[in-house]
Amino acid sequence: MTTTHDPITTFEVGGVGHSVLRKEDDRFVQGAGNYVDDIVLKGMLHMAILRSPVAHARILGIDASEAEAMEGVVAVVTGAMLEGYNLAWMPTLSGDTQAVLATDKVRYQGQEVAAVIATDPYIAKDALAGIFVDYEELEAITTPQQSLATETLIRDEKEGQTDNVAYTWEAGDAAITDAAFAAAHRVVSLESHYPRSHPSPLETCGCVSDVNPITGQVTIYLTSQAPHAHRTLFALVAGLPEEKIRIISPDIGGGFGNKVPIYPGYVVATAASLVLGKPVKWVESRSENIISTGFGRDYHMTGSLALDEDNRITGMRAAILSDQGAFFADAQPSKFKAGLFHICTGSYDFGAAHVTAKGAFTNKAPGGVAYRCSFRVTEASYLIERLADKAAHEIGMDPTEFRELNFIKKEQFPYHSPTGFVYDSGDYHGAMTLAKEMIDYDGWREKQRNQDPDGKLIGIGIASFTEVVGAGPSKDYDIVGLKMFDSAELRIHPTGKAILKLGVKSQGQGHETTFAQIVAEELGIPANDIKVIEGDTDNTPYGLGTYASRSTPVGGAATSMVARKLREKARKLAAHLLEASEDDLEWEVGKFSVKGSPESFVTIQDIAFAAYTNHPEGMEAGLEGVHYYDPPNMTYPFGTYIVVVEIDQDDGTWEVVDMVAVDDCGVRINPMIVEGQITGGLTEGFAKANMQWISFDDNGNCIGSNFMDYLVPTAWETPKFKLGETVTPSPHHPIGAKGVGESATVGSPAAYVNAVVDALWSRGVTNIDMPVLPHRVWGALNGVDAKP
């Protein structure tokens, strides 16, 4: 078993491996964070959006005269007005187009139809009641199956669009997979719907757009996980010169993928500011957030495993039908229409796989964002881990043994998967062994065997997930053409303090601390002496932002690399100061010394001072640099989660009574922060398994459009977790880190559901889709179809 990474720096320096307290917390605990809604500019106006009450309708007319006449209303914006500026439609991050304000039709309930700009937010909302829209209702298409069967076109405005198909895509090899299935001793199949869910960060989305009428400077304070990419898109959408656009992403109150896309509200507020010459603020209400922006998942999945007579997996088929909503607006890498779903072969060693995916337009809000996951890896992990469990149960084999039999072995890495990934490293047996030991797996199985059949039913669920994160190598990964590198710029000041500027953007992950620790590790400058700046496109190097667990794998690597560049310059300065040859110097944390005479040394602080005061002739002054990091491969975090649940047979409720999560995210930069990411992710995984669900009625009305109807867990429902770790460093990442922000959300849902199904297997229950609501459990136990 691998062990925790031992720090090479002292705690005072605070390099990799130290649980340094977060630098950002002082302002947050004093209520001094600076979120978008906290920003107040002189003369600022307020915007409210009128949304469609119906899912599918033609707009026959809009009469805003009553709203326009209201005191305090400055303007009412409609799609027809935006058309005059060529802004009624905008490109999405998946190469589709999306209505900014509807002109021809509304295509989902909650779609943006008009906007009021007023002097006061209360007045702006009041005035929405003074806009009258004449709708001619059309058939609402609320499922992808219905979408593919109907002749009603949702995207009738698109030239050449003759059906409701958003995309088709495939990966793997059909012929080899067919052969594997033809030769199979046993085939295990599962049909499952990974339901629509919403990230719902506690801060909703919003912006303050400030267009200076004299200089033409456009400053947008934006809830953005990807400020640089958003600036470029604003330049393309609005035809504005990019150097005049500055996106400032201040403190962000959680993102989870919700703040990756560009939303119509941002564009309307910016257009309004441009026309009116005053700053315009728009902040969503919670209901608006849930019904209109950035849902996740909604994957209808059919999967099968082929097994040989020794219970080894020999092949996998997966077919996806994806409910895209009315616009294809996910942020997927352009080469991968179904994201990285083809990681669905998971932690298992077999040579044949074939994946097909089709996206269908429906009359629902667009999205399909990577909700705390790396481009559909959550859905993939869920499918394979449910299938693995189902296979074990059908064979009558212990699910941990089935996994151990089929795992990719430690010595097989780097491992080439049948869908084209090259897994960089792993030790799946190690994580499984530790998880079983920590939870006393055999003890729980014993209790389960001896349980009272009329009492609470014990179920034990396992998930041994493999993620693929850190997008990504530029040869394969881009979003609307922008390659998915990331960047770091580091300047060391004369007194040895430093400023680090990044292309990524924290939404609570603690970058101000973690990235300073990477510099501390590389240069020996105390983490507390390093200021980290993100989220201001005028003052940070270009990068693709923070989502898909890419900050540490890509931005973190860029940080290491720029620090190493500066270390090489520091070596030259040290040679000058010590009057020694560069080759005679050796580096240990924070200083260069002359080989063989350790008393003859200069510290990084001495060197920084010399860079501005005593640099050798012919050398550029200063100690700063920038690095754009193009990762050679993705990273592959993994882990094993084991959940024990007890099910109340009378009412179908279930409770997590024990849970162990063993994660291997490579080297942990700040163990405290890593564990915080994991407990947060386990909770979101539980939420999806247990309660979170965005559902619709047959007319396309969103059921669950607020926090009373869309349930997210409180402290009371949230399980308690035991955490374990193994450390298998990424061989290609400069410090061996892999990314961890999403592992637990990716891995845990299958573990919870597997536990419930395990408890009910002997009663003939083989599947319950998420959320595993009590009435579904009760229905399954009693042979009643309790959908939805």
Partner: protein, 154 residues
Amino acid sequence: MKVTVTINGTAQSADIESRKLLVDFIRTELGMTGTHIGCDTTSCGACTVLLDGTPIKSCTMFAVSADGHEVQTVEGLKNGELHPLQVSFKENHGLQCGFCTPGMMLVGKALLEKNTSPTDDEVRWAISGNLCRCTGYTNIVKSIQAAGAAIEGN
């Protein structure tokens, strides 16, 4: 309507619309933005303040209803030095994005005033009107308990 509310010990008077919510009064009239808005259904607790020492959700109270009352916000927690809750949230990694944190600390304060050594379940129940999407609550519970121990120790 004219209202006078004592906020963090200072009387604040203003002439406001009767429909103005307390949270908007605090955030926009007084410019104290530590109190946040996370929903519109009294569900998330980001707007929690203490009204005469009791946690309430300021998005569901009119500012005029607070006339003559004492309100404490996160800005009033620090008294020369950080409040033990502010220290313990930092030390126990009780926050990530920071958006729920002011509400969590104020609920914690009201709890600890009655009981400085609450059990895990007692803390969880007390904060069950406050949502956090980042932490999974584990470290929030720990932070409140640690603050209780620190207060007890003094």
